[in-house]
């Protein structure tokens, strides 16, 4: 499906203008996964950039008539998961980055966004209009607010579980019909962004990580600016500190004292942003302890580190911090640095207070040259001993494949999300040759524990979907039945999350 349908392309141009039908070689390359070793594997046949919901609907109708597979992207900055590139080579990217409307309800702390709105755009809008609402941003804030929430991305504040803060969607269905979910199902309802559930079955989560429709508007709750932010940055000296640190924090997280999802990361998570490997060693093999110690010493970082932050009234966050102090009483921490911001202070100016950033992407430069990474992110129960087991097994696989261990464990209310990055150098074919086998070994290792990934790269959507195997993959069968009913011609994002249209299943 790489040959363009000329009649379809003429129809698309008639709807959105020929400038926004982009099918040159440069365009196909621009919409490929620039982190990939072999960009050809997922090269699209071009891209369309509509400017409105009505144009999206018309494109979908034309795509149906001509059986043209579309790959909708919000802004295409899902780096580490495929960027703008489609699962299916030759699909036509539907780039929604021109759709940038923002409607904030300052009184209620909500926003209704189009998919092209990036975190920096929304930040600028709130600042310019002096609206006292804070964002929750991911480590790469270049991307789309809506796209990140729909892919279940996470951030640093108590609003960090982004998909959990979605309230109401507008969706173009695969036949061009337009639906609004939740209270938006009632025309002109004032409650669309205020009450999630509406009446009857809830559909919002069906459009997360799925290919059942194209979200053209997304409602999201934003955090009212708190009076104070307090907490600590903890550093831990030993690899084995991971277990007790998680067991110390998890009760506070489960009870709700800690409202954000603290992410305990290893030394490389911090160091890969600040330095490059070649500054420390020319040895290509696994890093030895003396190198790790030297890097840690230079940047004053622990083997593991975690930031805990409380948000709210000063009295309350001070009291919360005291409880945290008690929890860590007599625990062998390496260091504890206090953090304190109170309304009226100069801006704290970091992601923990909702400031968008892109510098964490500098970790792609860890190996020098043109770098990239792929994310491996299994979910496990929130227990220190299980986290230690997970860490040791994963570490052993990193050693076996000669890669540098880069990991974190984010503490949700009832689970740990173990986000690992495989940092690589695109221009080192020998290294690139190890990445695929290593990724497959990691997924198999997690599946053996009955752990599944929460999100994955376009190369591995079938692999990960296969691990969700209860009752001979009953969930996949259900997804396929929905897909067949809602998108019989299979035009929306074939292969997304392992969901393929009829006739393309293996």
């Amino acid at each position: 499906m790489t040959r363009l349908n000329a009649a379809a392309m003429r129809s698309f141009a008639a709807v959105i203008g020929s400038d926004w039908v982009m099918t040159g070689e440069d365009d196909r390359i621009a919409y490929s996964d620039h982190f990939a070793g072999d960009e050809q594997r997922h090269r699209p046949s071009g891209a369309l950039a509509p400017g409105s919901t009505e144009e999206v609907r018309e494109i979908v109708r034309i795509a149906n008539r001509h059986r043209v597979p579309l790959w909708p992207i919000s802004r295409g900055k899902n780096f580490g998961y495929g960027g703008p590139a489609p699962v299916l080579k030759g699909a036509l990217v539907l780039d929604l980055s021109r759709m940038k409307k923002i409607e904030v309800d300052a009184a209620n702390g909500t926003v209704l966004l189009e998919p092209g709105v990036g975190f920096f755009d929304l930040y600028d809008h709130l600042q310019a209009n002096k609206i006292p609402l804070w964002l929750s941003v991911p480590g790469n804030s270049w991307g789309s607010v809506a796209g990140n929430a729909l892919d279940r991305g996470v951030g640093y504040t108590s609003y960090g579980d982004h998909s959990a803060r979605i309230c109401g969607l507008e969706v173009v269905l695969p036949d061009g019909d337009l639906v609004r979910t939740g209270m938006g199902a009632m025309a002109n309802s004032p409650n669309w962004q205020l009450y999630r559930h509406g009446f009857g079955p809830g559909w919002d989560t069906l459009f997360c990580q799925s290919n059942f429709g194209i979200v053209t508007k997304l409602g999201l709750w934003l955090m009212p600016e708190p009076e104070a932010v307090m907490g600590y940055d903890y550093e831990f000296d030993q690899p084995d500190d991971l277990g007790w640190a998680i067991d110390t924090l998890m009760p506070l997280r489960r009870e709700g004292l800690i409202q954000q999802s603290p992410s305990i990361g290893n030394w490389l998570r911090s160091a890969a942003v600040m330095t490059t490997r070649e500054q420390w060693t020319r040895d290509k093999g696994p890093l030895d302890e003396t190198v790790i110690d030297a890097i840690r010493k230079r940047f004053h970082i622990g083997w593991w580190s975690v930031q805990i932050r409380f948000y709210g009234y000063l009295d309350v966050v001070e009291a919360s911090t005291r409880v945290l102090d008690r929890a860590f009483d007599n625990k062998p921490i390496l260091s504890k640095k206090p953090a304190r911001w109170v309304k009226g202070d100069p801006p704290e100016g970091s992601p923990v207070t909702g400031v968008p950033v892109s510098f964490p992407l500098a970790n792609a430069n860890w190996h020098g040259g043109r770098g990239g990474h792929v994310g491996y992110s299994p979910v496990l129960p929130p227990r220190g001993d299980l986290a230690m087991d997970q860490f040791k097994r994963t570490y052993a696989l990193y050693q076996k494949f000669g890669m540098d261990y880069h990991a974190s464990f984010a503490m949700s209310e009832r689970s740990l999300v173990n986000v690992n990055q495989l940092l690589y150098n695109k221009d080192d074919p020998e290294m690139m040759g190890r990445v695929d086998a290593m990724f497959r070994a990691l997924v198999a290792d997690a599946a053996a524990q009955r752990y599944g990934e929460y999100r994955t790269h376009i190369d591995y959507m079938d692999l990960v979907a296969n691990t969700y195997d209860f009752n001979d993959h009953a969930l996949r069968r259900l997804n396929e039945r929905v897909k067949d009913a809602i998108d019989p011609h299979g035009i929306i994002a074939p292969g997304k999350s392992g969901i393929w249209p009829k006739g393309q299943r293996t």
């Binding site: 600028d124 100016g349 510098f359």
Partner: protein
């Protein structure tokens, strides 16, 4: 070995005194915000429509603490790691870098930045008179 460019950069733009780039004042009790990545907020202001377009489309990576700025500071004098501090950029080079990508910089698609917009940004960075 220049291993600590991040703190260096941080200091660099904190000294600039632009909005949001100030170091936290010590509190009366002597404590300060100790987050090493504090103060990474960019100056998002602009004095002209061309500069505003640059901020909207490129600033996230090429102003203070952007990915591009951080990586470029490893390869050249950190004082000119920000593109706007450069005096040697040409229109042609900016357009080629954006469309073809460069090093760790991904290619910028026409959907994200149109040819017309890119020409305006390139003129701004090349310091074409009047831009």
């Amino acid at each position: 070995m220049r291993k600590d460019l991040l703190p260096l950069l941080l200091l660099g733009f904190m000294a600039g005194g632009s909005i949001g780039a100030r170091a936290a004042e010590p509190k009366p009790d002597g404590s300060t915000v100790e987050n090493p990545f504090r103060g990474v907020m960019q100056d998002r202001t602009a004095q002209s429509p061309e500069e505003a377009l640059f901020v909207e489309k490129c600033g996230m990576c090429h102003r203070q603490m952007g990915m591009g700025t951080v990586i470029l500071a490893r390869r050249m004098d950190p004082k000119v790691a920000m593109l706007e501090a450069r005096n040697n950029l040409t229109v042609q080079f900016v357009i080629a870098a954006a469309r073809a990508g460069l090093g760790n910089m991904p290619r910028i698609s026409r959907g994200e930045v149109s040819n017309t917009q890119l020409a305006r940004i390139a003129a701004y960075l090349a310091k074409v008179p009047g831009k």
